[in-house]
Amino acid sequence: MIIQCIFEGIVIGSILALISMGIALIWGVMNVLSFSQGEFLMIGMYLTFFFNKNLGLDPIISIPFTAVIMFALGVLVYKTLIRKALKGPILSQRLITFALSMVLVNGMLMLVTSEFRTIPKVIFTGTVDFGFLVISKEKLVPLMVSVLVTGALFLFMNKTNIGKAIRATSLNKDAEELVGIDTEFSYMLAFGIASAIAGTAGCVLSYYYYITPTVGTSFLLFGLIAVALGGFGSIFGAYIGGLLMGIVDVFAGVYFNTAFKYVAVCALFMLVVSFRPKGLFGK
């Protein structure tokens, strides 16, 4: 039973990690708390559904397409809204993303009504039953994809010079400009990558989850907490934060009380933040 809980916890944690990494990227680089990350996840799911229904693509195959479209959407949103908002007070940046999430949810609601859709058949189905541990192949997909995406993001941020530029921007924007790095480009890129990651999370999640305009909101709150748990702007910290959230979510539910499992998760967050005000890996 415990092994099953650990496995399930890691799976849920890996999806939460995908969302919290996107938030950590935006938070770290632009110090903006993005409330619309949940909605990018939802749009990613609808894109996957669209590809699956009309072009018959399995969610995994549609990951690259969804990621590219979401990247473009992220850049568009950055150019139109976030860039202007960055000039205003910090608080209005957070409210812009909150209002944007309201617009996206209800816009999608008007477009495609709130009907619950699912992806009928996927390549990896069926379960492998070891008696004490049942591994469903559908659950392996989010695990693998999130490890791949984290690795890719880690390499990109540390190895490529564009990635280093983005990381440098998060440390000190003014020094950046003096050195001649175009911070606008880094911001746009960061926002684009974050929404692309959320889109990938959407593909992965639509593997076994239902799709409706309001699906993003519940993932958003726990993605935010996972980021704060992991630490200010540290992407690796967000990944660990996401995993931790998933495991605590399952264990609290099974061994404590299912109704109060989210109270346990919030209690963990309060505990960590009171001892380390900047989160586990925060600078």
């Binding site: 007070p89 608080l91 409210l95 812009i96 999430s101 617009v103 305009p213 907490i225 704060a228 109704a259």
Partner: protein
């Protein structure tokens, strides 16, 4: 006192004029729906002003004030249902409980800065909602409805017509507005603004920043809980999903930012504009699903983008940055 009036004459004239309008307006309204909107405006104005103390003046943006809103509502609900106590008493019990909770939570919370503080308050409000949802004494998910027609209106604060509700809520709005005006130019107000501007340098000039932040947090908790009690009596039925959801916390913060953060009448302006837009978009566009919230979100984006300092910047000329001529300096020195 004389120079106080002379100094704030500008504010007093505007205040009395708008008060007159607020008092006379209901007499021209025939159907209760606009009156319902005005009552909501009062509620949101009180909440916005309450939140303004901690979010606006002290700069510690909290996204979890629905917790105190819920405590105030439940204090009245349970008071009426189980103890048959008049809301005039249970309202203040709710305020005291909220201040207590704010004091207990304030100490660990206020050590956090910026986004962390916002996320921590959001997590706590969500925990509060879940706890109230599964707590059978307070009716849990079935909520508390206290439609009690026995005692007369003034004792149970339950009336068939809307006018008494409106005028009672309006008096609360005026009282809290005057409280804010008083505190704005007081030591408390200056200290909070200093904390918001630069906490370290504020501390180096003798301000006990953690104590003042806690005071502001407790004051804002009390005022928001008051709004919760008033709204509970108007709605006469409460359950956790009405009084403690995440979007109520966000709306409280939105009302103040929209109006003009850290100003005296900012929250009131924000409450008026936002409530009117949200109620009327819902009433007129109710046929297409989701359209009214779509418009609402879009309007908020437009306002926040083009008027970053809030709607109040429309009505207030920017402070002139000028250097005093020597003559003015002489005259000021005397």
């Amino acid at each position: 006192m004389k120079n106080y009036i002379e100094a704030n004459s500008h504010f007093i004239i505007k205040f009395l004029a708008s008060l007159l309008v607020a008092i006379l307006l209901p007499l021209f309204i025939k159907t209760p729906f606009p009156l319902h909107v005005m009552i909501l405006i009062c509620i949101w104005a009180i909440m916005g002003m309450g939140w303004n103390f901690i979010g606006g003046y002290a700069g510690q943006v909290s996204n979890g004030h629905a917790l105190f809103y819920g405590i105030g509502a439940y204090a009245c609900g349970i008071g009426m249902k189980n103890f048959n106590a008049s809301p005039w008493i249970t309202m203040w019990v709710g305020v005291i409980i909220s201040i207590g909770v704010a004091f207990v939570l304030g100490a660990p919370l206020l050590r956090l800065k910026g986004h962390y503080f916002a996320l921590a308050t959001m997590a706590i409000a969500e925990c509060g909602r879940i706890i109230f949802l599964n707590w059978n004494y307070v009716g849990g998910a079935t909520g508390v409805d206290f439609l009690n027609k026995a005692e007369p209106g003034w004792y149970t604060l339950q009336f068939t017509s809307k006018y008494p509700y409106y005028y009672i809520f309006l008096t609360f709005v005026v009282l809290i507005l005057l409280l804010t005006k008083g505190l704005d130019k007081s030591k408390f107000g200056y200290y909070l603004r200093a904390i918001k501007a630069n906490e370290d340098s504020a501390q180096s000039v003798g301000i006990n920043t953690s104590r003042y932040k806690l005071l502001a947090f407790m004051l804002s908790a009390g005022v928001v809980s008051l709004a919760g009690s008033l709204y509970a009596n108007y709605l006469q039925y409460i359950d956790p999903s009405i009084v403690m959801p995440l979007n109520v916390s966000m709306m409280i913060c939105l009302v103040t930012v929209m109006g003009g953060i850290g100003t005296v009448i900012g929250p009131v302006i924000g409450a008026i504009v936002l409530t009117v837009i949200s109620e009327y978009t819902r009433a007129t566009f109710s046929s297409i699903s989701g359209f009214d919230l779509f418009i609402y979100g879009a309007l908020i984006i437009i306002i926040v983008l083009f008027l970053p300092n809030g709607l109040i910047s429309l009505f207030r000329r920017k402070q002139k940055i000028r250097i005093l001529t020597p003559l003015e300096m002489e005259e000021r020195m005397r």
